[in-house]
Symmetry: C2
Subunit: 192 residues, 2 copies
C-alpha cells in the first residue's frame, strides 16, 4: 500500500462541531470550534485551540472561564454562522436566537438549545504559535432533559454535529453503529 | 427546555478513534485513543491525553516522538484490541498484523493499513492529574494512495472510525453530509 507524503497537516477525522462560549466585555459570545478534545479524566478537563485574534479569545482571557456547547444537527446553520461571523461586529446569540443562561461559574454563557453544555475554568494556557491552547477544568455538565433516556444521555436524541475537515469542510451526521468498544477487539485475540 | 446537572463529565460527541504509536524500548507499540484534537495550525500541532501507566506513555517519554494513525471502519477490531490489551504483555502490531513502517522521525512507528499517519515530535507535556497531555508538532503526513482522489484525501475511501463515549462506548461510521461549512451559516444572516 503506497503512501503519499503531504507535509505537516492538521488532518484528523472526525472532528466535533462545538460552540465555545465566553463573556466578552460582559456580553455572551460564541464561536464554532473543531479543534478540541478531552484532556484529562480526574479531574475532567478539555482543551480548545483558539486564535488570539478571535473575540472569544478576548473573553476567555478576561474571565478565565469558557463553555463548551455540543452542537446538534438541528443547529447546523447557527453553528456555522458562529464560525463565519465575529462577535466584534454582531451579537451572535441574538441573531441565532440562542437562549443564553449561566451556571455555577456565572461568567461562562451556555446555550439552552444545545443538548450538552460544559462549564470550564482555565487551568493552563499554552501559546503555541497561531493558536492558544486553553485547558479547562470541567466544573459542571448540563444535559437537556429532552436528550435523556432513563437518566442517561441518549445519542439518538443528542444528534451531534460532526465536522469533516479539509479538503471537505462540511458537516455530517453520525452514521451506523458498528460495534461495542472494549469488546469487539476480543475477536482479534480469539483468532490468534 | 429543562437542563439536568450531571456534575463534571468528559462528555463530548463525537470523538475520533485514533491509534497512537510509539517505540517502547525500541519496539513499536500502539494504543487506541479518543482523547485528542488539533492544537495549532502554524506550525501544525495535535494534543493527545495518555495515562502515565500506559505502555505508550513510556515510549513517548523515551523518544519524545509519537504517531497518530487515523483508524478506519475496516480496522474496528484491531483498533479496539489496541485499546483493551497492553503492549507490556503482547506485541500488538504482530497480533493485529499491522505493517509497521517509519518516516522522517525514525522513532515514531506508523501503520500502513491506516489511511492517514501523522508523525509528531513532543513540544509540550502537561501533567494534568490522571493523564499527561502531550502536544506534538506534526512533522509529516502520510496518506495511503488508495485513499486519494485527484491527489486529495477522499473521505469516502478513508471511512474514519468514530468513537461514541459514555454511556454508549461504541464505534460508529460517518453519516450523511448535511451542509458546507463556512457557507450554510449565511442562511442565518440572510433571514435577519
Amino acid at each position: 500500500m503506497a503512501k503519499i507524503l503531504m507535509g505537516p497537516k492538521t488532518l484528523i477525522y472526525p472532528m466535533p462541531a462545538l460552540l465555545i462560549g465566553a463573556n466578552v466585555d460582559g456580553k455572551p459570545n460564541f464561536m464554532a470550534l473543531a479543534w478540541g478534545g478531552i484532556a484529562n479524566s480526574e479531574p475532567p478537563m478539555i482543551s480548545v485551540a483558539i486564535r488570539p485574534s478571535r473575540h472569544t479569545h478576548k473573553g476567555i482571557s478576561q474571565n478565565l472561564t469558557f463553555s463548551v456547547n455540543i452542537s446538534s444537527v438541528d443547529l447546523i446553520r447557527e453553528t456555522d454562522y458562529c464560525g463565519i461571523s465575529s462577535g466584534a461586529r454582531v451579537n451572535k446569540a441574538e441573531v441565532c436566537k440562542f437562549n443564553v443562561f449561566y451556571g455555577k461559574l456565572g461568567s461562562a454563557p451556555l446555550i439552552e438549545q444545545c443538548p450538552i453544555n460544559l462549564e470550564c475554568k482555565v487551568v493552563h494556557t499554552l501559546n503555541l504559535g497561531s493558536h492558544s491552547l486553553f485547558v479547562g477544568r470541567i466544573e459542571e455538565t448540563h444535559v437537556s432533559e429532552s436528550c435523556l433516556t432513563d437518566g442517561q444521555p441518549d445519542i439518538q436524541k443528542i444528534k451531534p454535529l460532526i465536522y469533516t475537515t479539509e479538503p471537505y469542510r462540511q458537516y455530517q451526521a453520525l452514521g451506523e453503529v458498528l460495534g461495542k468498544a472494549f469488546h469487539i477487539g476480543r475477536e482479534v485475540e480469539a483468532s490468534t
